[in-house]
């Protein structure tokens, strides 16, 4: 799993997929990209292609419709449009788009599920900050 690890200050080397948007860093993957391992990132991530492992970001996570993700995801706002297998934590809001397929437990403050999305897992909502501080 620990094939690759990108830590906040060291991510400048990943200039291939990094763009600035609204003054915040964004790590952007393409449909043919593969990320395996653990990514801790001070910014937002646009996930596409294949992701396996763990992704924890200070910003938002956006999973594209064609993406295949088998990973733990943690971000402020998490938007899923593709297929995700794994636990998802949204410190603010989790959105499941109409084509999203999520299999895993989720922990959120706010939740929106669009018609057509598929969810199998346990949903925890509410006193998220208390639970997070205990981790």
């Amino acid at each position: 799993m620990d094939v690759q690890e990108a830590v906040t200050e060291g991510t400048a080397s990943v200039d291939n997929g990094e763009v600035k948007r609204d003054g915040r860093k964004q790590f952007s993957m393409g449909p043919s990209d593969i990320l395996e391992g653990k990514l801790i990132y001070d910014g937002s991530v646009h996930a596409d292609g294949r992701v396996e492992g763990e992704v924890r970001v200070s910003g938002n996570i956006d999973v594209a419709s064609g993406a295949n993700v088998k990973a733990l995801l943690e971000g402020a706002n998490v938007t899923l449009k593709g297929q995700v297998e794994g636990m998802v934590t949204a410190r603010d809001k989790l959105t499941l788009g109409k084509n999203a397929r999520l299999s895993g437990d989720i922990q959120v403050r706010r939740l929106q599920i669009d018609d057509g999305a598929t969810l199998n897992g346990h949903v925890r909502m509410g006193d998220f900050e208390q639970q997070a501080s205990g981790q």
């Binding site: 706010r110 939740l111 929106q112 599920i113 018609d115 999305a117 199998n120 346990h122 949903v123």
Partner: protein, 182 residues
């Protein structure tokens, strides 16, 4: 306790009628903002909850928790479950084919989606049977003859769903009386 006293024993074998209302329309139950249900509800049709429910809900059609509706219990919808932005669903198990949750809704529970997840839901729930058994006291003095022959089956044409159940308890009654005489 239970609004619906009639529950098919084998739900899986029961075809889901698109129209089963008395007027030929699809059955629908609405619990308004001031309505409150404590117990268990099974309905062949749709359900809309704008009030408060403490207990388990099961519908062969759609379930909508709208307005400031609050549901605290398991929810099974053979088709779609919709939770509105001001609504609340605190569940143990949520079994649905389709699910829509609006931003702002309170929602928690174990979600199982897809037809495969919905159909095998068969938790043993004997409560409705108990509800049917309670009104036995009334039919016993009316038709004591039916105890031996049990010609009760053609009777339920009167659309009283409770009557078929009266046949078995009625047969039990004489035995209880014998016991008292001893």
């Amino acid at each position: 306790m239970t609004l619906s006293s009639r529950r098919p024993a084998s739900r899986l074998a029961t075809p889901v009628p698109a129209e089963n209302g008395s007027n030929g329309q699809r059955n629908s139950v609405v619990l308004g903002p001031n309505d409150r249900l404590v117990g268990e509800l099974y309905i062949e049709g749709d359900l809309r909850v704008a009030g408060t429910v403490e207990g388990n809900l099961e519908a062969t059609g759609d379930i909508e928790i709208a307005g400031a509706g609050k549901v605290n219990g398991d929810v099974t919808a053979y088709n779609r479950l919709t939770v509105g932005s001001d609504a609340s669903l605190i569940a143990g198990d949520v079994r649905v084919a389709r699910l829509t949750v609006a931003d702002g809704a309170k929602f928690s529970g174990k979600v199982s989606m897809g037809k495969v997840a919905v159909e095998p839901s068969k938790p043993a729930e004997p409560e409705p049977v108990l509800v049917e058994a309670t009104p036995v006291a009334k039919p016993v003095p009316v038709k004591p003859v039916s105890v031996k022959t049990e010609p009760v089956k053609p009777v339920p044409v009167k659309a009283v769903p409770v009557k078929p159940a009266a046949a078995k308890p009625a047969a039990v009654k004489p035995f209880e009386q014998k016991g008292k005489r001893r």
